[in-house]
């Protein structure tokens, strides 16, 4: 158990010099504070470019060029559905939207991941247990199914940073959280007129 040992070492360096928030120091602290558990490996503590740029505590400025470059990279990296079919089955989409599991140390890695959309969004008007971190998507189907709207919605799900860098929303496609079929089903749940998302409140 490295509790006392490591905390002492870090404690000492804290006292000796003022804390420089260089990235390596924080990773060292994190690595001394966590242990891998099931599928939640220590590698998950390492940041990629998006995470690093978007981890600046509030108020620390990041040059606009860095942001726009990264946003463009994300946009270019988006993978549209292979056969150009954007919409799947809204019933299965409803399940993905309501499933909060997937990729946690407590989850069964053989089971499909959930999208947990209801955690942050209102969707079907009759479902009262919805979150408010994201905008309400109730009645999203009214936006229609034009090519641009399909591409926009798909890209938001695939990697929202392509439009809105440092958004709180996970990169469901780019990070491999949801499969292509699951993304199609969520698209249907959002856009299919028959989906509960597009019905009026009972």
């Amino acid at each position: 158990m490295r509790l006392a040992g490591v905390a002492r070492i870090v404690g000492l360096s804290l006292v000796a010099g003022s804390w420089t928030s260089a990235a390596e120091d924080i990773v060292a602290v994190l690595e001394s504070s966590f242990i891998a558990k099931n599928q939640a490996t220590m590698a998950r503590l390492q940041q990629d470019a998006v995470q690093e740029v978007c981890s600046a505590p509030r108020g620390t400025p990041v040059e606009e060029t860095v942001l726009s470059e990264l946003r463009q990279q994300r946009l270019d990296a988006v993978v549209l559905p292979a056969d150009g079919v954007f919409l799947g089955d809204w019933q299965r989409g409803a399940e993905v939207a309501g499933n909060g599991r997937g990729l946690q140390s407590s989850d069964d890695p053989t089971k499909p991941n959930g999208g947990n959309c209801y955690a942050c969004h209102q969707l079907a008007p009759d479902e009262v247990a919805y979150g408010t971190l994201g905008p309400s998507l109730t009645g999203y189907g009214a936006r229609g199914q034009s090519e641009p709207m399909l591409r926009y919605t798909w890209t938001k799900l695939w990697d929202t940073h392509a439009y809105n860098l440092c958004s709180h929303m996970p990169r469901f496609g780019a990070q491999g959280i949801l499969s292509e079929q699951q993304l199609r089903d969520v698209m249907a749940y959002l856009l299919d007129p028959a989906s509960p998302v597009n019905q009026t409140k009972q």
Binding site: F34, A40, G131
Partner: protein, 271 residues
């Protein structure tokens, strides 16, 4: 030491205290107000407070010593008002420590118990009624009931722990790019019906810091802030946070300093 109510003497506690719900977190639109009113003040955490107090006075370990000699920063054995000064720097270990780390230190030094066994199972698993650490931290929090939250920031290490805590608070990682800030950087927000305190603000931090540890009705257990962060990181898809680790101490320093001036009202009652 048998857990919970394995104590031989029959305690005919005739006293039932009415532990307030503390600053219970309910969504802004009060969807659970009716539920909380019906629940009233009767918080089963009262049992865990008693169990924590008993453990403080129970001799254990190779040195068969109680914890009465443990210095929580206000002098050895002083428990009243100690919790609200944490996390704080201790010269004897040359470290900034949280309550859990300090208790582990006293268990290993005063009682002579080995670090491995004392930290093997800090938090209850499903089916348990409560662990030693949970009960002790719950009693110590109750010993600071009504006190003003005032974490020590006089020592350079304590101030630097705050800076480190803020940095970790905003550190995004894992498949979902979650950081603590993802959920706890805005006020009046909720995940499903679970309200989210804005821990970067004084009001949100004071509300949260002041009401943990708390009895979780969904588990029938009192949980510490250490466990709360560990379970948050689990849902962030991160590896497992270790009790008393630097990240745990830094995040608690960040929260406690943001909460400074608030009132301690724990154990609270939560989902």
């Amino acid at each position: 030491m048998p857990r919970g109510y394995g104590v031989k003497t029959v305690f005919l506690w005739s006293v039932c205290l009415a532990l307030s719900l503390g600053a219970a977190r309910v969504p802004a639109d009060g969807v659970f107000d009716q539920y909380r009113d019906l629940m009233g003040d009767d918080n089963p955490a009262v049992f865990v407070i008693d169990e924590g107090e008993e453990l403080w006075f129970t001799a254990q370990g190779p040195k068969s010593a109680t914890l009465e000699a443990c210095d929580l920063g206000l002098g050895s054995g002083v428990t009243a008002g100690a919790y609200v000064r944490f996390p704080r720097y201790f010269a004897d270990t040359n470290e900034v420590m949280d309550v859990e780390a300090r208790l582990v230190h006293c268990m290993t030094t005063i009682q002579g118990r080995d670090l491995e066994s004392v930290t093997a199972k800090p938090y209850s698993l499903r089916g348990d009624l409560g662990t030693e650490i949970e009960a002790l931290v719950t009693w110590l929090a109750a010993e600071s009931e009504g006190e003003t939250i005032a974490p020590e920031q006089t020592h350079a290490a304590e101030r630097e722990m705050y800076v480190l805590g803020e940095e970790i608070f905003f550190y995004r990682a894992g498949p979902h790019d979650f950081s603590c800030a993802t959920c706890h950087e805005q006020s009046e927000m909720r995940i499903r019906l679970q309200s989210l305190p804005d821990l970067t603000s004084h009001a949100g931090a004071a509300n949260a810091w002041g009401s943990w540890p708390a009895y979780r009705i969904s588990q029938g257990l009192v949980r510490t802030m250490g466990w709360r962060m560990r379970d948050c990181f689990r849902q962030q898809r991160w590896p497992e946070l270790q009790m008393g680790s630097t990240t745990s101490i830094a995040l608690q320093t960040y929260m406690a300093v943001n909460a400074a001036g608030g009132v301690m009202s724990a154990p609270g009652l939560k989902r």
